[in-house]
Amino acid sequence: MTRDEALFEFLLRMGDNTLILGHRVSEWCGHSPVLEEDIALANTALDMIGQTQLWLGLAGEVEGKGRSADDLAFRRDAWDFRNVLLCELPNGDFGQTLMRQFLYDAWSLGMLDRLKTSSEARVAEIAEKALKEVTYHLERSGDTVIGLGDGTEESHTRMQKALDYLWPYVGEMFEKDKVDEVMIAAGIAPDPADLRPRYDETVSRVFAEATLTIPDGSYVHKGGRTGRMHTEHLGHLLTSMQWLQRAYPGAAW
């Protein structure tokens, strides 16, 4: 695997994470429990779609086959996506959505913070910009997890249920394969495992305040970032996200 082949894969992983999670969050638009949260979630979704344009735009450039960010987003099928499974899981209730967001934001912040010093200047530049957005996302999702976890009996029960459901998907973000080895050797991206201590520190602090308990067990659902096996949910998401470009190929406005 050449440096650029690995870089392309790495950029797909970054861009597909923000694309798929951004789309998921956008599904709340007009449906949130209160107006303020509706706007806040839409802002978060838009930030992530903006990051997607940068990551997938660069991916297309690195690939060198003339594919744009839009081509990559709307003209690939499920098995070509490289997002972690966590990002494609359904929204569930509002609490589950915010729990998923928090678990992702905490990883994203650590990752972007390391990518700021990437040897690949274009990667460092995107990380620098995205980091400001993600710092705010994490603050908001963390506060909401605390507010709902340490809230009423009902909200606490729902948040614990969300954490129990989502936690087995966290491990995939710290997996390492050949792509990562090339990225590490080239000084482009960190060893995913190196992000774990800071991540554990962040989530432990928030869950302690939220009176939530990380479930036992070490089973990790994976297969998203390698593309080996996505969940059934991704295909359903793509049918709605890609519908327009599939029905009217090349449509623009």
Partner: protein, 94 residues
């Protein structure tokens, strides 16, 4: 059982040097979330550099039905407007 979040009045400073201006209101469970919600609702288009939030119940207001005694007496006191001074041109805009 109904738990409504309290109402907050939002004040935004548009740029350095200007004063905070009332832009609207929103609901939030506490002051910190009110600032965050204000950021998301009222500064999406780069409108602000600073946010104040005040819980609406802390604002004491004049009573609309008393606006006669409250405001009308000043209508007839034009001498309170210093418009009768001659301002030299070289002073420029005041």
């Amino acid at each position: 059982m109904k738990h409504e979040w309290p109402l907050w009045e939002i004040f935004i400073r548009g740029q350095h040097g200007l004063s905070h201006r009332h832009v609207g209101s929103l609901h939030a469970p506490d002051a910190e979330m009110a600032v965050k919600n204000a950021r998301d609702v009222y500064t999406r288009r780069n409108e602000g550099v600073s946010i104040w939030v005040v819980e609406a119940r802390h604002i004491a207001a004049s009573v609309p039905s008393e606006k006669g005694p409250m405001f009308e007496p000043s209508e007839s006191k034009i001498y309170r407007h210093p418009t009768f001074y001659d301002i030299p041109d070289e002073v420029g805009h005041m």
